[in-house]
Structures are given as structure tokens and as C-alpha cells.
């Protein structure tokens, strides 16, 4: 608890957060899948360009158990602590809440007193998560105004659903219970976020645990059994309001990025695959006549490829799908970053007009057939840009290459190695790889990145700029 001022990483509005000092450290979920004896870890990376350790791993905190599959972790508190109806601004952004997607275990990791040496403060065991929340496979963390919200992909037993959202207490991290009072038709879960001033939550759909834990089920994809809906919820009453079916041919509705500016009522959803032509797409949701509506605003086509170069699931299609698996929106709501994990591209779109995105930049690293190298890497690279994180000022974007262990192995069967790279962003758009920044994690794979003090996918702002 602070006394004289709120935690200085909290900002009332997104525009104020854009002026935050540059991050000096990053936290990366690193996975040792396939080495059942070695646990996953949280790696601390030096991001200060003036430091002698710039672009190096300065510390690795191993988890006490193996096989967690650490995923989209987040902070215990963020700018939502300033929200006017239940403010607690003297709480600190201090703990990383790190869920194990495979184990259903949740680690609470303390980044103080030495942010370079985080330590485990609490472990919420899978039994407790399941017993108290009714869910398993925790996936995404968001710090809400009244609690820490966690999305979960499975029900508390077996490999089925429904998946949903549960809450952790802000202060002692106890599991408070499931969030939904009325889930309506929603069964599948993946990502979630909200328009906080509209009292609206948005959720997306992947699949049930049995549909991804041993790799994607190709019959289910072809039969369109994965998620293709967006769900809108009343946050106050915790009730399902509206489903938007993007179309049965769309499979996997992944990341959701609502505009950060609280007076704006639109956002972006990434769709991994269209069964029609293997393209990926970005959809813009918005208000229309008192309801929510969504329209496809970006389509990224598949690239034709020689079947000999393709992994087994793609050979018959003779093409590499872009596989847009993560998107991220800068805090000024101007640039949307889109990772094409299949083709090995990171794209930058100017989304000042959210209905008319404009491609403004592109870099290539990895890719199923392209295998593009990095100026600092030795030889071709496997995997592609996947988890993206943007600095608060929007000038630096970090990305890593692993999606999910068993899915990595399906599309990059030659044992993907982990890496992390960075682009520098020009003020008016356009970006270039930082030739000094490339971290080779070897056989350890890399997933979510969080930046010291906050980033573009952890904060919620209650006050308009």
C-alpha cells in the first residue's frame, strides 16, 4: 500500500499512460514442454537499451511443478484501481498472476522488492481453482475494478465445457467463484475484455480442452466445431446480452482488443481461420442502433506453398494460412499489431478509422515455409510472431513465437525453438526489427510478455482523455 500518492503506474486515461516512462524489464512465460522433468519458468529480460544486459535474460524463476503450460498472465492491479465507483488507488501493481493452462494451477508472483528477482508468493492449486470456480484451464487475466478476472476454457471436470470466467480477490487472491449469473447460450471460451464505462464485457471462443490439449482436432476444424461467436455481456448484472455469429466457416475467435479510450465503443477481434480459403481476418465490433454489430475489416489471405515444405495437416491444402493468433492495440488506439504465426509476419495497421484499417508496416521472422531469419539469429527460424506486446508509448513492440505446445508441434513439427524479438515503431507508422534485440531461448519456448509498469494489454482506464 502506498500513502501519499497512488501507485505511479496507474493512469486515469490512456493518453496519460502513453507518456509513461519506457519499460526497463520484461517478464516472459517460458515453456519447457516435452521435457516432462523440467518446469516452466518466468524469465526476466532486460529491455533497457543503455544497459549492458540489453536483450538478455537476467533471471529465470522456475515453477515448482512441471507441465503447467504458463499462459496469458497479468497484473494483480492496474489503472482500473482508479475507477470512481470503487477506487483503491493505493494498491500496488506488484504481483503477476500466472495461470497454467494445462495444469489449472495459478501462481502469484511477487515482483518486489527486486523486480529483477521475482518470487512466488502464493500458489493456488488446481483443486482449489476447480472447486471454488467450477472451471479449469485458466487462460487470460485482467485486473478489474472490483476483482481479478480470469477466463477459463474448461469446466471443473474432464475435457468439456462450459468455459467461462471466474474471479480472484484483489487482496488475498482467494478464488471468489464463477462470474456469470446467466451465461445464455455461451459454452466456448477464450479471451475476454470489456468496455468498462459501458458496463459491457466481450468474450471470444476457441474450443473445449479435449479439442486442443492433444493438438487441434482436424475433423473438428473441417466440421466447424470450434468457436465462431462473439459474446456481449452486461457487466453489472453478469448476464449474457447478445451473440454475434461471425459465420460458421470462421474457426477460432481469439484475441479481443477494445479501444482503450473509454468514450469509444468499438474493438477488434482476431479470427484465426476461414474454412473457405484459409484466410485470417480481423473484425471490428461497434454499436449500431442500440445493439452490438461486427464487420470484417481486415482479411489476410493464405499463401500458396509447395506441399513438400508443409507439415502434415496442411499438405492437402497446398497453402500456408496466415494464422492470426494474436493482435494488440496501441494505447492511443492508433495502431493494431497483427501476428501471422503461419506465414511468419508481424503486421501493423493504422486503425485511426476502425472501419477502414490501413496496412502501414510489415516485418518477417520465421514462418512455416518462409523461415525468415533475424539479423541477430543464426540461420532460419521456426515459429512465427505470436504473442505481441506494445510499450505504453507505442514505440516498441515485443513478440515471441510459441502458440500452444501441442499446436506448435502440429505446424512446426521439427521441434520449434523459442525466441523473442522486437520492432521499433516510427511515430507516424512503419516499423523495423531492432537488430540488437533477439533472444534465443533454445529448446525452451516463449509465450506471453508483460512489461514493467504495464503495457497495452493489461490496463483499463475509466476516464476519457
Amino acid at each position: 500500500m502506498t500513502f501519499l500518492k497512488p501507485d505511479q503506474t496507474f493512469y486515469p486515461s490512456p493518453r496519460m499512460a502513453c507518456k509513461a516512462p519506457a519499460e526497463r524489464l520484461g517478464y516472459v512465460a517460458t515453456l519447457n514442454t516435452g521435457h516432462s522433468d523440467r518446469p516452466d519458468a518466468l524469465s526476466v529480460v532486460d529491455l533497457d537499451p543503455d544497459s549492458p544486459d540489453y536483450g538478455r535474460i537476467v533471471n529465470t524463476l522456475e515453477m515448482p511443478y512441471a507441465g503447467d503450460e504458463l499462459h496469458h498472465f497479468g497484473w494483480n492491479a492496474c489503472s482500473s484501481a482508479l475507477c470512481p465507483y470503487a477506487p483503491h488507488p493505493h494498491l500496488e501493481r506488484r504481483y503477476l498472476i500466472v495461470p497454467g493452462l494445462r495444469s489449472s494451477r495459478i501462481y502469484v508472483i511477487d515482483t518486489k522488492p527486486d523486480p529483477r528477482r521475482p518470487a512466488i508468493a502464493k500458489i493456488i492449486e488446481p483443486e482449489e481453482v476447480m472447486k471454488r470456480s467450477g472451471y479449469s484451464r485458466p487462460h487470460t487475466i485482467h485486473c478489474g475494478p472490483d476483482a481479478i478476472y480470469v477466463s477459463a476454457l474448461g469446466a471443473d471436470n474432464g475435457g468439456g465445457g462450459p468455459g467461462g470466467i471466474f474471479m480472484l480477490d484483489h487482496f488475498n487472491f482467494d478464488v471468489l467463484g464463477p462470474w456469470e449469473i446467466d451465461r445464455g447460450p455461451q459454452q466456448l471460451a477464450y479471451d475476454f475484455w470489456w468496455h468498462i464505462t459501458e458496463d459491457t464485457m466481450v468474450t471470444s471462443e476457441w474450443g473445449f480442452p479435449q479439442q486442443f490439449e492433444n493438438g487441434l482436432v482436424l475433423e473438428d476444424i473441417l466440421a466447424g466445431r470450434y468457436g465462431h461467436n462473439l459474446h456481449f455481456w452486461d457487466m453489472r448484472r453478469r448476464r449474457h446480452l447478445q451473440t454475434i455469429n461471425l459465420g460458421d466457416e470462421y474457426q477460432f475467435v481469439f484475441e479481443l482488443r477494445p479501444a482503450h479510450e473509454p468514450s469509444k465503443t468499438y474493438g477488434f477481434a482476431g479470427v484465426v481461420l476461414s474454412l473457405k480459403d484459409l484466410s485470417s481476418s480481423i473484425w471490428t465490433w461497434h454499436r449500431e442502433n442500440g445493439k452490438w454489430a461486427a464487420r470484417k475489416t481486415i482479411e489476410i489471405p493464405a499463401e500458396p506453398a509447395d506441399p513438400d515444405q508443409l507439415p502434415p495437416p496442411l499438405k492437402d491444402f497446398k497453402a500456408v494460412p496466415p494464422f492470426v493468433t494474436d493482435i494488440d492495440l496501441s494505447l492511443d488506439d492508433r495502431f493494431l499489431y497483427v501476428s501471422c504465426w503461419g506465414t511468419g509476419e508481424l503486421r501493423q495497421y493504422d486503425v485511426s478509422d476502425p472501419m477502414q484499417p490501413r496496412l502501414t508496416g510489415k516485418v518477417s521472422v520465421g514462418g512455416i515455409t518462409r523461415r525468415a531469419s533475424h539479423p541477430k539469429s543464426e540461420g532460419p527460424l521456426s515459429g512465427g510472431p505470436q504473442m505481441v506486446e506494445i510499450s505504453r508509448d507505442g514505440r516498441r513492440v515485443y513478440f515471441t513465437n510459441s502458440l500452444y505446445s501441442t499446436v506448435d508441434d502440429q505446424f512446426y513439427p521439427e521441434r520449434m525453438t523459442g525466441w523473442m524479438a522486437k520492432v521499433d515503431v516510427a511515430e507516424e507508422g512503419g516499423m523495423a526489427l531492432d537488430p540488437r534485440f533477439f533472444i534465443d531461448f533454445g529448446e525452451t519456448r516463449t509465450h506471453q510478455v508483460r512489461l514493467e509498469g504495464g503495457d497495452a494489454s493489461t490496463d483499463t482506464f475509466c476516464y476519457p482523455s
Partner: protein, 224 residues
């Protein structure tokens, strides 16, 4: 033992009124009690009128939670003597203060910014009740009610207490409105980052101080 004559001298009574006004100003200044929500609504709707409009429900919600405490005090007067009432009010306040001291950050769970008049009233009532705004003023309210009791009205005057609550909420309203308007027009949101002291902790300490003082006062009056 209902004393039939007012027991307080005029300066004591003036002190009671002044304290009610002071507490009102203090509650009005607490960001968790209303001005911040009003400001946020003003900013969100890009209209200063939204701030003005939210004042009535926030003030009446706050007042309602204190009226509730006053009603409890009045009801308890049927069974307890003024001495016992003083001790009871002080003790309850102290117990609550200790609880708050160890749970300074606990708030009622409320999510929602699309609020109408009814919601704001309810929100303000909940915030005041949960933070013990009524409890904090209960000892003073009791003294004012006691001091203004006429010969026919028992030893606590409900009207006197209502007057005190009216003064309290008027003071709260003024401070709340001015604070919200000054931040809206002049200071801007940056003030939230720079000048927001830990009101929750100060609040808990204030409860403790008022509770201790009330206990001391109860003992002194009992001895007199």
C-alpha cells in the same frame, strides 16, 4: 432515567453543530464518497451538467445512510440511558474502526458506470454505510439530539438529529460539488495521480480517533 431537561450548555451545542459540518466537509472531500464518481460521469458525458445532476442522488443516498443510524440511536433510546447510549455508540465505532484499520482497502463490490439517479442514490447509500459514515458521526449526533431534546420529547430529539444531518449533508454537498467542479474545470485528471492521498487509511484512523474521543467523553459524562 430520562432526564427531562437539556443537559448541554450552548457552547457545547454549537460545538456539536460545528462538528457535524466539519464531518460533512470531510466526507465530501473523500473521493470514494461521491465527487470522483460525479467527475467521471461529467467527463464521460462531456458535460458539466452531469456533475450537477449527480449531486442530488449522491447527497440523499449519503444522508439516508446517516438517517438510518440516527433512527437506530433514537430507537435504542427506548431501552438505554444516555450514558449507556454513549458507551454503546463509542464501542461500536471503535470495533468498526479496528476492523477498517486492517481492511482499509475493502469496498462494497460495485461495477457499473451507466448509472441513473436511482443507481447513484443506492451507490452513495452503500458507500456511506459500508465505510461507516453514519457511525463516525453517531456520537456527535447523539449529543446534538440530546442537547436539543425538549421536555416532552424524551432525552433525544429526532428533529434535532435531523437538523444536524441536514447541516452535515449540506456541507458535504458543497465540498463535493466544489471539488468535482474545480478538478473538472481547472486541475484536470493529473491530480488523481499526484495528489490522491490514501484516504482509506486516513478514514480508518479518523474512525479510531472519533471512537476514542467518544469513549473518553462517555466516561467523563458518566463520572460527572
Amino acid at each position: 432515567m430520562h432526564p427531562l431537561t437539556p443537559s448541554a450548555t450552548l457552547p457545547d451545542l454549537m460545538g456539536g453543530w460545528a462538528m457535524m459540518i466539519g464531518f460533512g466537509a470531510y466526507h465530501g472531500l473523500n473521493p470514494g464518497m461521491g465527487w470522483l464518481f460525479a467527475l467521471a460521469l461529467g467527463l464521460q458525458q462531456k458535460s458539466e451538467r452531469a456533475i450537477w445532476r449527480s449531486m442530488l442522488p449522491i447527497t440523499t443516498g449519503h444522508a439516508a445512510s446517516i438517517v438510518l443510524v440516527a433512527a437506530l440511536v433514537l430507537a435504542a433510546g427506548n431501552w438505554l440511558s444516555i450514558t449507556h447510549l454513549r458507551y454503546t455508540a463509542a464501542t461500536v465505532l471503535l470495533v468498526f474502526a479496528v476492523f477498517k484499520l486492517f481492511n482499509t482497502y475493502r469496498h462494497p463490490r460495485w461495477v457499473g458506470m451507466r448509472v441513473g439517479m436511482k443507481d447513484l442514490f443506492l451507490w452513495s447509500f452503500l458507500m456511506a454505510a459500508a465505510h461507516g459514515a453514519g457511525l463516525m458521526v453517531a456520537p456527535v449526533l447523539l449529543e446534538v439530539g440530546h442537547a436539543t431534546a425538549g421536555p416532552a420529547a424524551g432525552f433525544i430529539s429526532g428533529v434535532g438529529m435531523l437538523m444536524a444531518i441536514l447541516l452535515h449533508t449540506t456541507a458535504m454537498l458543497m465540498v463535493m460539488l466544489v471539488t468535482a467542479l474545480v478538478v473538472f474545470r481547472k486541475l484536470g485528471l493529473a491530480i488523481l495521480r499526484r495528489r490522491w492521498v490514501n484516504f482509506d487509511m486516513i478514514w480508518a484512523v479518523a474512525l479510531l480517533v472519533v471512537g476514542s474521543t467518544a469513549l473518553y467523553h462517555a466516561a467523563r459524562m458518566a463520572a460527572a
